[in-house]
Amino acid sequence: MAAGLCLWWASLASAAPRLSLEGDSQAGHVTLSWQPSEGTLDTPSYQVQEASSEGFGEARTVYEGTHTASVISGMPDGVTFYRVRQQGQRGWGDWSETASFRVEHPSAQSALTLFAFGAFIFMATAAVIVVGNRREAVEQAEAKGDP
């Protein structure tokens, strides 16, 4: 009980939202979602930042508003760091714990190999249908011409 109270007090004091993320590291997109800090009464505003270093040296604001989630896509290879903070009556609160997301796109070789494989299967399938129909048309024409 006492430990629970301490945790609640600590989260209220820092007033930082809880940030979580879920994404596809090969496709380079992530959905960030966050929960307001405990004890928040009204709908607060949030600010979400991303940076390529954990120190947020060249941070970029990717969202500012009242939503509690944001989709980020088209990310390059590498690790991107995110953090969020909420605005209350006393201004902006503390930043949340930093969350990171690593993107590792598949290699060009595997992408082009699968592309070529798919193209081959598709063309072969289309050929069966196109050639089959042409043959059928020829046979029908011959049948009509045959007394």
């Binding site: 979602s33 009242t66 989630a69 299967i121």
Partner: protein, 518 residues
């Protein structure tokens, strides 16, 4: 429910649900009132014309996935993602000549499974039925779940309420009107969908120029414009082959090929593909414009509705809600009708109740539609979001059916053994690839293995099939078929049980004998 995705008041949503529910059921009743015979109920009297044929192809292929997933593809994979989704139209283009061939080979046909049974025998039929039912049920369940989730996300109407309304309405008008009702409502629904997508796309273009969209994406997410975004390059043929597999094997498309008037199928599917093609591109553009419009996307599949709500206000929200309702309804009704046909003709009439008359089967069909609606509702009621994603695992299954179907329609030498092995091993290897290599390889591997087996079987142990065997009367009319023919039908199926036996004298002669008797 993620905060920020709701664009419509729940009270407005209930009014719209009520109005359109009454409209669909009333129209279904009106169009379906003349569907007294079995083929009238199941296949709209085999008299569907070009306009209705093309409209039903468009409406059925515009699922909630098209209006929700196409923008998601664009948002996640950029230009290639948008184009990858639009390749699903190639399924309709390639099926167009197949529809004509199907109508010629089986003028009295009812289902895709009937074709497989007559073409390849019972083992292939059993495997094919497994694939077809798995696909149809998972598609239907995913649409039911998507309907509930989207209605909740758009308006706050509780999930179970939304799912219940959509499934109940679709089941009601399919029961009262059969395929006539499905195709008729599809026509109206396709018009609503097209108008909705065009209006939102025009509103987007008015609000932001193409240059601004390009600059915004190029500055902030340049990978989305990269023609070598690897994962998107991989998705192109994965998506295309998935689409081919869905169209080639599914009775949703076959039943329409049987239902269309002679000479209409090819044109209707080509026209349907042409009309469908720009829809995911327009929907994808709307998604790419979101950053330039300063719109945050809190939920990846909600980008389209959010842009519409932002640009068009309440009118846009209503439009999107109606488009979503229409796109889901137009798929669920088609699935109910086509799956009911499969169960009624291939399982009930073919296995369980061989002497059933057309009138009896007409009644069975109604009960099957009701049962399917209830079953889907029960599964959707479990509220397990993972169920909706099972459909994405169907890629290897439907991919493995592409070659047995295409070769079966055009190659006399395609053998029953090859077809069975292609579907079983293609599905297994595709499923293995899904888990071991990645989701983007599943349909490719499944289709590739299936193709290899079908081609190898043709070379190593070719069959000699007589096309006339496909013109046998369906099981559904066994009350009108002489006992000789029924016996011959059974004999034909039995000869096809063993791979490679169709080169034997029996299997070559039986179809020809049948055709003469017919």
């Amino acid at each position: 429910m993620i905060e920020g995705a709701t664009i419509l008041e729940a009270s407005t949503a209930w009014i719209l649900l009520g109005l359109f529910s009454v409209l669909w059921v009333a129209l279904g009743y009106w169009w379906g009132r003349k569907a007294k015979s079995l083929s009238g109920f199941m296949l709209a009297g085999r008299n569907v014309g070009l306009a209705l044929g093309a409209a039903t192809a468009v409406a059925t292929w515009v699922t909630s996935n098209t209006t929700m997933l196409a923008p998601q593809f664009a948002l996640q994979m950029g230009i290639w993602g948008m184009l990858a989704y639009s390749t699903a139209s190639i399924g309709l283009f390639l099926f167009a000549p197949m529809a004509q061939r199907i109508r010629q080979l089986m003028p009295e046909g009812f289902t895709s499974a009937q074709f497989v049974r007559l073409r390849y025998g019972r083992w292939a039929w059993a495997v094919f039925m497994g694939i077809s039912l798995f696909y149809a049920l998972t598609w239907m369940i995913s649409m039911g779940i998507a309907g509930g989730l989207l209605i909740e996300a758009l308006s706050g109407v509780p999930y179970l309420m939304g799912t219940t309304v959509i499934l109940a309405v679709c089941t009601a008008y399919t029961v009262v009107g059969g395929l006539r009702a499905v195709i008729g409502t599809d026509f109206i629904q396709s018009l609503i969908i097209l108008v909705g997508v065009v209006v939102v796309a025009i509103a987007t273009l008015n609000a932001v120029s193409l240059d601004e969209v390009y600059q915004q994406v190029a500055n902030n997410r340049p990978a989305l414009l990269d023609v070598m975004l690897h994962v998107a390059v991989m998705a192109v043929f994965k998506n295309l082959l998935f689409g081919l597999g869905e169209v080639f094997h599914s009775n949703v498309w076959w039943s329409r090929a049987f239902a269309m008037r002679d000479g209409v199928g090819k044109k209707a599917y080509m026209l349907g593909g042409l009309i469908w093609l720009p829809i995911p591109i327009a929907a994808g553009f709307i998604a790419l414009a979101a950053p330039a419009l300063g719109i945050n996307v809190p939920q990846v599949n909600m980008v389209g509705p959010l842009v519409a709500g932002e640009l068009l206000g309440q009118a846009g929200a209503i439009l999107v809600f109606v488009v979503v309702f229409s796109s889901i309804a137009s798929s669920i009704d088609s699935l109910l009708a086509a799956t009911s046909d499969l169960i009624t003709t291939d399982i009930v009439a073919g296995l369980l109740w061989k002497g059933a008359s057309e009138e009896q089967l007409r009644r069975v069909s109604v009960w099957v539609i009701l049962g399917l609606g209830l079953f889907t509702w029960g599964i959707c009621g479990l509220e397990d979001p993972n169920l909706a994603t099972i459909l994405f695992r169907a890629g290897p299954f439907v991919g493995s059916a592409i070659w047995p179907i295409a070769a079966g329609l055009y190659w006399k030498q395609a053998s029953p053994g090859g077809a069975v092995a292609a579907m079983v091993l293609g599905s297994a290897s595709g499923l293995w690839a899904y888990y071991e290599l990645g989701w983007y390889t599943a349909a490719l591997i499944g289709t590739g293995v299936s193709m290899l087996i079908v081609v190898s079987a043709r070379i190593l142990k070719p069959a000699t099939f007589a096309w006339e065997a496909l013109q046998q009367p369906a099981h559904t009319s066994t009350d009108k078929v002489s006992s000789d023919k029924v016996q011959a039908d059974t004999l034909l199926s039995d000869t096809m049980l063993s791979p490679g036996v169709s080169k034997s004298a029996d299997s070559e002669n039986v179809p020809e004998k049948l055709s003469h008797e017919s």
